[in-house]
Amino acid sequence: MKTKLDKFKHKILKSINCQAHSGDYSSLPKKLHNDLKLFLISQKITKLYSHQLQMFEAGENGEDAIITTATASGKTIAFLLPIIQRILQNPGIRILLIYPTKALAQDQMRNMEPFLDYFGRDRVEAGVYDGDTPPNERSRIRQRANLILTNPEMLHGSFLPNHSRYGFHHIFSKLTFVVIDELHVYRGAFGSHMANVMRRLQRVCKYYKSLPQFLLSSATIANPVELAKNICHRDFVLIDKDGSPRYEREIVLWQPPFVGDSPYRKKPEEEAATLIPDLVCNGDRFITFCQGRRQVEVVLKEARDKLMAVDGKPSLMKDLGDKVSGYRGGYTKNERKQIEKKLATGHLSGVISTNALELGIDIGDLEVVLLCGFPSTKASFWQQVGRAGRKGNSLAILFLDVGSVDQYIALNSNYLTDAQIENAIIDKDNLFIQLAHIRAAAAELPITLEDAAIFPDLGESIPVLLKANELKNEHGNFHWQGKEYPAGDFSLRNASQDTYKVIHRDTGTMITEMDESQAFREAYPKAIYIHDGLQYMVEELDLENRIVRVFSIDVNYFTVPFVETDVAIIRDFRSTQLPCSSVTFGDVKVAETVVAYKMVQFHNHQNLGYESINLRLVQELETEAIWYEIPPQVAKIFETHREYNFYRGLQHALLTAARMRTMATIEDMSATFFTNVQNYGHLQNSYILLYDLYPSGLGFTEKAFDFASEILNDAITLVQSCGCELGCPACVGDYFLNKDVVCWGLASMREEAEAPIEVQSYELPVAPREEKQFVLEDLPQKWDEFVKGLCDRGEKLGEFLAHIKKIKVQEESLQLSIASEFLAKWVLEKENKKKIEKTIRYYVSVPQKFCIDVVDVQSQDRTIEKIMRRYDDLKNI
């Protein structure tokens, strides 16, 4: 690392140093097959890392093992040693290697090539079997490959349903090892599905009288053994002591500066682009991870622009623009080899990639990793960081985004290094998922009594399936009578099977698919839907045909749905007391109605107005949840300040904390608050509810219940130590909520706390904004321009304000001339006054105590008099 960060010192919040350590080696084990020994020596490997040896021994001893060492610690060899050892003894055995993505399987296939070349096709044959594999290659793999690289979807949709056909039976009857790489990816709904796919796999293996051994790898998470057991239904040996040498690694947290005087920070991409020229000039090789394809393009373009203008290069010389390149999924083998070669020879300084490439894909030696924003989980973070430093010291720079997790990290950098925090959660017994797999399993093999041990809800499901005519009792076994391919009824990664197709209006092409809840929340009419970094506006949401019609658009705002939530408690399972509150875990029914949306400007999150939605978009979800009771004294004060909805602040903070604990993403867990539960009869209480976003729950909140008080503490820390002054989207979800109040609300659950004085005299904080075109003093001169702008934007009060011809500024107030006493009174009515003030605050830079007033009412009295006279006349007739 030659680049010096000194000149960016002011932007650097913190630097975490990961110490180098030397490797822990052992000599090649005696039991190692002689040919395998010769192979390793031919690869210049004369000793193994301790974890590789452990894995080999686990393999030899018939143990199921999970390895959680860092990326680039030689995991491929760790897996392959016990496997190849067994293959050399009997080339007829079969090994399934399951990777979460196609790209990763392809990449791992490349890593195996030295083995294949060395041992020859008579001994080791391998192949990637996925949706893209052509038929003749498929049949070759089924017939001859002993290493079969595939993904969960293929296993679920092709291997298992066809176990008796096309030669799959041979694979199952000879299955000796099942390798699951990147186990931590199997969390949430995907993980729950995976656990059931493994149930089906083991059931089919049992039929073919095979008992495969499991070898797993995972990034560092808090509960690798628990997750492995949940997914594979076996007990695992944990191999977590990394024996590979570690070079020194520095992790730098980079806080982008504010834009001018505004309270808004620069985007991570912008900051990355500023640093890249330095890296290029100093010859440091790097990879930049961006959140989406569009961000890649932005960084690439900005970095190139800057590189072209680097001083000291004669203009006639080729500029430095082609020293950086994009690098994304979907490149062919050759293209990738080209890029890697260029990186190695120095023709290329760095690549800019999307997150999609993080999973185990090897790009060669790099010194620097730039991360534009924190990737949603820590596991991903470390994986991205691990791309550099395979052969020397390295640097990782995390450019923080404004999101709550990023800003939390800014304050609690030990979150990154503390392994005990992220739990990968699945609920393998989720009824919906289980039932889907019971049906698939029944179509694979008739259900026998033994299956009751595999699927815990089998006893309840069979009578229903019998009633639905999908099963038939034949001599005490249940045979599938339903449709041909029940495994096709659902997908492993999509939560619900009611998928909506997003279709481009002009081209008719399908952009993506989404489930119903996502469609309701993101694709209501006029919503701005963002996919792959491109913006679309929703023209129509067709509920009947499940189609979302969109067209391309380029606007500077995004839309946020306004969701009304109804909560009904079905039953509570467990409850625990906090010092001044209680937390309950149970089944709830949450009905969400998307009633309106707001338009929010990009980057500064300025609210551009609300629109209501005419479609009835209701979704009911029966799921698991935990609910925190809000202490009555807090609720009382919150209720008196209803205009601010402090509940939302509590909800935001608790949800953020809970998500970090359970590795839940925005698709896994949500939160709301509710009051006055009928069931409880007694005093009206208020609660913050955190719930799993999946029918019957996926175990996120169940896990959160175990950490209820830790989550509360985290939430308090999160709000307390946020860098903002009054409250911001990062800590309390909004600029309009006073964070001291929110913090007090949270703290009151933990201990009796004094209400902050602000609560009594609390006033609306000024909404900060970046580009206000008007200042109060100039407003009288620019009034016409101002009201025209309002009308153009469709602001509701625009027409009314345009009607007012004259205004005056008096110190901190704006005086409107209104030609009617009644109208003046009407305007000054509390609600209306506030609305007008709010609208003006949006667009005009005003002092803190800004208010409006009404003047010049005499002339209007005359009109009133005239009306009164006419009225009297009428009375007299």
Partner: protein, 637 residues
């Protein structure tokens, strides 16, 4: 002697020159036939002058077996056997075949050898002919090329004193026209299967003064595709001195089976059931062939538990490929089975390859064998392996000079290299090779391998069925697996006809009437129970997911067609149903207390009322509005 019924007695008693017995299925055809022979012997007819003709070795053996129970010495029936075996004997012993240019010690070649010879002739005489034409040779259309080949082939055979199977019939027919043949009776079994040349042969016997006693069932004509004459009964009935009689009483199957099957040929089929009604014919639908086989595995286990012998159960299929799934499943479930089949060497790729390797070792100039060994799609040898194999073939004579066992041979050729050890087929191929070698290598022979090879392999003195049966793990007392065709003439207590999907039964593009007769044959094999199944999805070429049209033609009053409602269910709906039933279960666990009745369990609940069961008082219903009950929730947690 078993008591015969009136029809049977009458059939035997007739003394016309031509007696045609149209015998319905299961009506005791073989019984009548054997009784006739006994009768003749008792009447003083010389057994040596009786010719008994069958179509299968199995049927011939059955006749021998039954006759041996009577006084008659079946050995004295010199000319009793299949058409071909009898012809073989007649050509060697009875007629003078030298007029046709052969000597009595001619040898018979199998179809495979025949095609090898044809290939070689094409090669030697530069006759360009397609593989397909070669397979169908001589075929219907005769081109110049096929004519030339035919001439060359005929010359070749005479020069080498060999005949093929077809020749046996042709030469018998020719010699019958040229030379006298004094036989008193010709007895024919399965008369309906006679083809054109066979009926000519029978005609000629009759012309020479023999009496003909032919038994058969026109509804069991299933070899039309092989040239059998569908109107043979009519043809012979029109000859002078012909008498036709019928056996119509079925003793074999329970009445439901007979009545159900009979309907296929209503109103002509006159078969009548003798037995009690029994169980109706069952029709079932399964998900696919695997589930069909799995279902059968479970069912057969429960039948075995009811002490029904495995070999009294038959599974019949239209196509050989259907067998694979059944074998696979039965192996998993440890159900013993035996496969009725005939195996051609060419149908077992690895043995075919190995055979050619041996041929090549003995004659390195054999181009066919060379091509086969080195360029085989699966086992062919390339690059280093090619050189290796060439060397082994060159040094073979040295290796073969000693006594060897199967492992020596395996190692000498390093066969594991050629059988691709990673492949799914490796294990089975290995077993086939080793079993095959064990089969051809005599137990305690001190002969060198060269000798053994010449003797056993080239002369094909081995039984391939034994080899494949061993590898498949067949057991003679197991469930009988066979095609509908091979089931003819057999009977079982339980019969399962699988894969009765449209497009498979009847098989696409086949003669519909014949397919129907074939299905009829299958159905009528059963004594007690028939179950027919079709599958919702099928891998069989040309088959659809619909049931066979023949199923509709069975007599509906004798058929139990299991209802198969098409289900349209939604995963979400099902989940809700499970939840509801869960809640219902919970209500049923609720305890209710009543002042007078004490504590009871809630058994039902609807919008307006509870139903509670009180011990001693029975079920009481209470309105929800005025409910005098107190509830105690039983919480699982």
């Amino acid at each position: 002697m078993k008591k015969l019924n009136k029809e049977q007695q009458q059939a035997i008693a007739v003394d016309e020159q031509i007696v045609l017995v149209k015998s319905a299925v299961g009506s005791g055809k073989t019984t009548v036939l054997t009784h006739k022979i006994c009768q003749l012997c008792e009447d003083g007819v010389d057994p040596g002058s009786i010719v008994v003709l069958t179509f299968t070795r199995r049927a011939a053996n059955e006749i021998h077996r039954r006759l041996s129970q009577f006084v008659v010495h079946s050995q004295s029936l010199e000319y009793c056997g299949t058409f071909h075996s009898v012809a073989n004997r007649l050509l060697r012993d009875y007629f003078d075949i030298s007029v046709l240019g052969f000597s009595r010690d001619f040898s018979i070649i199998e179809d495979r050898q025949r095609s090898e010879i044809l290939e070689e002739l094409c090669f030697d005489h530069n006759i360009r002919i397609s593989k397909r034409e070669l397979r169908n040779f001589p075929g219907n259309q005769s081109s110049d090329k096929t004519k030339l080949l035919q001439e060359e082939y005929a010359t070749y055979k005479k020069r080498n004193n060999i005949v093929d199977f077809d020749d046996l019939m042709i030469y018998l027919n020719e010699l019958l026209a040229l030379q006298p043949a004094k036989f008193s009776w010709i007895i024919v079994d399965e008369f309906q299967d006679c083809d054109e040349i066979q009926s000519q042969i029978l005609n000629k016997f009759v012309d020479h003064g023999a009496q003909l006693f032919a038994v058969g069932d026109p509804y069991q004509t299933i070899y039309h595709w092989r040239g059998s004459n569908p109107v043979i009964f009519e043809d012979f009935a029109n000859l002078s001195g012909a008498y036709t009689t019928e056996l119509s009483l079925n003793y074999r199957s329970s009445a439901n089976i007979v009545e159900a099957a009979k309907e296929l040929f209503a109103p002509h089929n006159k078969v009548r059931a003798y037995r009690e009604p029994g169980t109706p014919v069952t029709i079932k639908k399964h998900l696919d062939a695997f589930h069909e086989a799995t279902y059968l595995a479970f069912l057969i286990k429960s039948l075995a538990a009811q002490e029904i012998d495995y070999n009294q159960i038959a599974i019949l299929y239209r196509r050989q490929v259907q067998r694979e799934e059944i074998v696979k499943v039965f192996q998993q479930h440890d159900i013993p089975f035996v496969i009725q089949r005939q195996v051609q060497l060419s149908s077992i790729a690895v043995l075919d390859w190995l055979y050619n390797l041996f041929v090549l070792c003995l004659n390195r100039k054999n181009l066919f064998a060379k091509r086969m060994v080195f360029s085989h799609r699966k086992y062919g040898a390339k690059k280093e392996k090619r050189a290796f194999l060439k060397e082994k073939i060159a040094n073979f004579s040295e290796f073969a000079q000693q006594y060897v066992d199967e492992d020596d041979i395996w190692d000498y050729f390093a066969l594991h290299k050629f059988l691709s050890p990673t492949s799914a087929s490796f294990e089975k191929d290995q077993q086939l090779v080793l079993t095959f070698l064990r089969e051809i290598l005599p137990d305690k022979s001190r002969d060198d391998f060269y000798h053994v090879l010449r003797q056993n392999i080239l002369c094909r003195d081995y039984n391939l069925e034994t080899v494949v049966d061993k590898v498949d793990g067949c057991r003679s007392d197991g469930v009988q697996l066979m095609t509908l065709h091979s089931s003819k003439g057999l009977e079982f207590s339980h019969v399962f006809i699988v894969g009765a999907n449209a497009g498979n039964i009847p098989l696409q593009r086949q003669n519909l009437e014949e397919e129907k007769r074939l299905f009829y044959v299958g159905l009528t094999r059963a004594k007690e129970y028939v179950e027919i199944s079709y599958t919702n999805s099928t891998q069989l070429y040309g088959a659809t997911k619909d049931p066979s049209a023949f199923l509709e033609e069975l007599n509906p009053s004798c058929v139990h067609w299991e209802e198969t409602d098409d289900t349209q269910t939604d995963l979400k709906e099902l989940t809700n149903m499970v939840k509801e039933s869960r809640l219902q279960n919970q209500t049923s666990q609720r305890e209710a207390f009543h002042e007078k009745y004490g504590t009871g369990m809630v058994v039902a609940e609807d919008e307006n009322s509870f139903m509670v069961d009180f011990p001693g008082y029975g079920e009481k219903s209470f309105s929800k509005v005025f409910c005098p009950l107190k509830f105690k929730e039983t919480d699982e947690n």
